[in-house]
C-alpha cells in the first residue's frame, strides 16, 4: 500500500515537473505519433497486397500493434526511467546508495520509484490502435479477460528482464546491453508466426518477446487457451522470482560506487 502511494507521489511530482516544459511535451507527442504512425503505415501497405500475413489479418495485426504499443508505453513510463542505462544512472552516480538507506524495498525503489508521465502518450495511442483493430470483431468475455491477464504477465516479464539486465552491473559493471535489449524489443511488434522456427522458439522461451504482444493478441482474437494462460502466469512468476534473487545476490557483491 505504502509502495503504491510512493509511486503515486513520484508520478504526481514527475507530472508537475514535466508539464513545466511545454516544448518537450509537444515533441513527445509528435515523436509518439511518428513512431506509431510508421508502424501502422507499414502494416497498411503490406495489406494492400495481401489479405493475411502468416495467418494474421489486417485487423488482427492492428490489435497486435496496439497491444505492443500499450505495453511499450507502460514500460517507458514506469520502468525505463529507473532501469535503463542502470550502471551509469543507477549506480555510478550514487543513487543506489541512497535507495539502500531508505526504509522500503530497495528493488522497488531502484526499479519503480521514478516515472516519466509523458510517455503515457504512447499508451493512449496504443489503446486507440487497439480500438481500431477490434472494431467490428466479435470478442468473447473470456478472451478479453485472458488478454488482460497475459498483458499483466507480459508487463511483469518486461520488468523482470529489465531488472536482470540491470543486475548485470553487479558482476560486470562495464557491460551495458541496453541497446541490444531495445533492438530485441522491436521484435515484439510482429506475430511470432512470421519468424522461422528457431527464432520463434527463442522469442517464446528464451527471450519471451512473444509474451509482450503475440500471445495476448492471439488470446483476445481467438479465445483463451488454458495452457497458454497458465504458461504466461508461470513465466511471470518465475521471471519475477529470478529478478528478485539476482537483485539480492547482486547487492551482496556490491562494493559501493562512490567514495
Amino acid at each position: 500500500m505504502k509502495l503504491l502511494r510512493l509511486v503515486g507521489v513520484g508520478f504526481s511530482m514527475a507530472l508537475r515537473r514535466s508539464v513545466a516544459f511545454r516544448v518537450n511535451l509537444l515533441f513527445d507527442v509528435l515523436l509518439a505519433f511518428t513512431g506509431l504512425g510508421t508502424a501502422v503505415a507499414a502494416v497498411l501497405i503490406v495489406f494492400t497486397r495481401a489479405d493475411s500475413l502468416a495467418g494474421w489479418s489486417k485487423a488482427e495485426f492492428l490489435v497486435l500493434i496496439g497491444t505492443y504499443q500499450l505495453i511499450t508505453g507502460l514500460r517507458a513510463t514506469f520502468i525505463d526511467p529507473n532501469l535503463s542505462w542502470f550502471p551509469e544512472t543507477g549506480i555510478r552516480n550514487g543513487k543506489l546508495d541512497g535507495y539502500l538507506l531508505q526504509p522500503a524495498s530497495s528493488l522497488f525503489l531502484a526499479s519503480l520509484s521514478l516515472s516519466s508521465p509523458l510517455a503515457l502518450i504512447q499508451f493512449v495511442l496504443g489503446l486507440g490502435v487497439l480500438g481500431w483493430g477490434i472494431a467490428g470483431q466479435s470478442l468473447s468475455v473470456a478472451g478479453v479477460l485472458s488478454w488482460l491477464v497475459l498483458v499483466v504477465a507480459g508487463l511483469v516479464v518486461t520488468w523482470a528482464l529489465s531488472v536482470l539486465l540491470a543486475c548485470l552491473a553487479f558482476w560486470a559493471p562495464k557491460l551495458q546491453l541496453d541497446v541490444f535489449f531495445h533492438s530485441a524489443w522491436q521484435l515484439g511488434r510482429y506475430p511470432t508466426d512470421v519468424f522461422a522456427r528457431p527464432i520463434r522458439v527463442i522469442l517464446t522461451y528464451v527471450f519471451p518477446m512473444a509474451l509482450i504482444a503475440s500471445v495476448p493478441s492471439a488470446a483476445l482474437l481467438r479465445g483463451p487457451r488454458l495452457g497458454v494462460l497458465v504458461g504466461g502466469v508461470l513465466a511471470a512468476v518465475a521471471a519475477a522470482g529470478l529478478a528478485g534473487l539476482a537483485w539480492q545476490r547482486g547487492l551482496r557483491r556490491y562494493t559501493g560506487a562512490t567514495s
Binding site: L6, V9, D97, L100, A104, S106, L114
Partner: protein, 322 residues
C-alpha cells in the same frame, strides 16, 4: 547497551591490476591479476548512546567504508556489527528509520527538479512520519537551519551550503537516533561550516542522538567530539579523548611571550617577530619554565598554548602513533 558495536570488522575486495602499456593490457585479457585490497582490517570500537565521536584518518583510511557498513549499504567480509542492536546490512525498515547517513559530498539525492518542500513531503511518506510530528519537527528545523527561504526552491538551484542544510533537514525530519555524518562541512565557507556545527550540537542536545562524524577539519572535531577514533590503513590507531591524543603525539607545549629581552635560554625558539616569541617546552616543565621566565625577564604578555591540532594530526597521519 551500546548504540554502535563494532567487533573485528573487516572489509576486503579484489581489484584487477595491470602494469601500464598496451602489452600489459592485452596480457590481462588472457591472464587477469587481482590484488586484494584490505580496506578495513579487524577494527573494533563501541559508541555509547548519546555520545558524539569523531572519526578521523587520512584519505583512503576506510572511514567512508566503515560508515557505509554501519548504515547497511555494504556487506562486510568479516566481523560483527550491531547498530541499535541489529545487524545493519539486513536493512530492516525499523532499523533504517532510526538511522541517518548524510554525506557532505552529496547531501541531497533524488530528483533535482523538485522543490525542497516536495522532497521533505516525500521523506515524510517514505519514513511514515505522522503529520503532526512532521509539522513540529519541520518547525524546529526551520528555525535551527534557517530553512524558510529555501522551502520553495528547486534542489538543483541551491548553493553548496544550502544543499547541506537541506540534506540535514531531509535526514533529521524523521528524528533518527543514530547519525552518521561523513564530512558534513566539506567545501563550506567558515560561517556555513560553523552553522552546521552549531546545528549538530543543538540537535544532539535536544534529542540525545548518537553521532559518528568524519571530517578533515579539526575545528569540526575539536568543537563537537569529546572522543576521537583515529583509523589508518584499516586499523584503529587511537581511541580516546582529543586532549590525550595531542599530549601523546606532542609532548610539548608552546609558550608565547612578548618581551624586549632574549629568552633563547629558556626553550627552543620556533617563532620570533618584533618582540613576539614562541618557545617550545616539554609539557612537564611548562610551569617551572614559566616561573623562571617571569622572574628573569620583563614580560609584557604570556600565554601557554597547545600545539595546533592540525600539526598534531598531520604528524599522526605521516608517522603513525608510537
Amino acid at each position: 547497551m551500546s548504540a554502535v558495536e563494532v567487533e573485528n570488522l573487516s572489509m576486503s575486495y579484489r581489484a584487477p591490476v595491470r602494469k601500464g602499456g598496451l602489452r600489459a593490457a592485452l596480457g590481462s585479457l588472457v591472464k587477469r591479476e587481482y590484488k586484494t585490497v584490505q580496506a578495513l582490517d579487524q577494527i573494533s570500537f563501541t559508541i555509547a548512546p548519546g555520545q558524539v565521536s569523531g572519526f578521523i584518518g587520512p584519505n583512503g583510511a576506510g572511514k567512508t567504508t566503515t560508515m557505509k557498513i554501519l548504515s547497511g549499504i555494504l556487506h562486510p567480509t568479516g566481523g560483527d556489527v550491531r547498530v541499535l542492536g541489529t545487524i545493519p546490512w539486513q536493512r530492516r525498515s525499523t532499523f533504517l528509520k532510526r538511522i541517518a547517513f548524510v554525506r557532505g559530498s552529496q547531501p541531497v539525492g533524488g530528483s533535482q527538479e523538485l522543490t525542497v518542500m516536495d522532497s521533505l513531503e516525500y521523506q515524510r511518506l517514505l519514513y511514515d512520519v505522522p503529520r503532526p510530528t512532521f509539522r513540529r519537527t519541520l518547525a524546529d528545523l526551520e528555525a535551527l537551519l534557517d530553512l524558510e527561504p529555501l522551502l520553495e526552491r528547486q534542489l538543483r538551484a541551491l548553493s553548496l551550503g544550502e544543499r547541506m542544510r537541506v540534506g540535514l533537514a531531509m535526514a533529521l525530519i524523521y528524528r533518527p537516533e543514530v547519525l552518521f555524518l561523513d564530512e558534513p562541512t566539506i567545501g563550506l565557507d567558515v560561517s556555513a561550516a560553523s552553522q552546521i556545527r552549531e546545528f549538530v550540537s543543538e540537535y544532539v542536545e535536544q534529542t540525545g542522538a548518537t553521532v559518528l562524524l568524519t571530517s578533515h577539519y579539526m575545528a569540526d572535531v575539536a568543537s563537537l567530539c569529546p572522543r576521537l577514533i583515529l583509523i589508518d590503513h584499516g586499523n584503529v590507531q587511537y581511541d580516546g579523548p582529543l586532549a590525550e591524543l595531542s599530549a601523546r603525539l606532542s609532548p610539548y607545549k608552546l609558550i608565547r611571550i612578548s618581551t624586549q629581552g632574549d629568552p633563547t635560554a629558556f626553550g627552543e625558539v620556533i617563532e620570533k617577530a618584533d618582540g613576539q616569541w614562541v618557545l617550545r617546552v616539554p609539557r612537564d616543565e611548562v610551569a617551572a619554565t614559566t616561573g623562571r621566565l617571569l622572574q628573569a625577564m620583563e614580560i609584557m604578555d604570556l600565554a601557554v598554548e597547545e600545539p595546533p591540532l592540525e600539526k598534531v594530526i598531520d604528524q599522526a597521519y605521516r608517522e603513525g602513533l608510537r
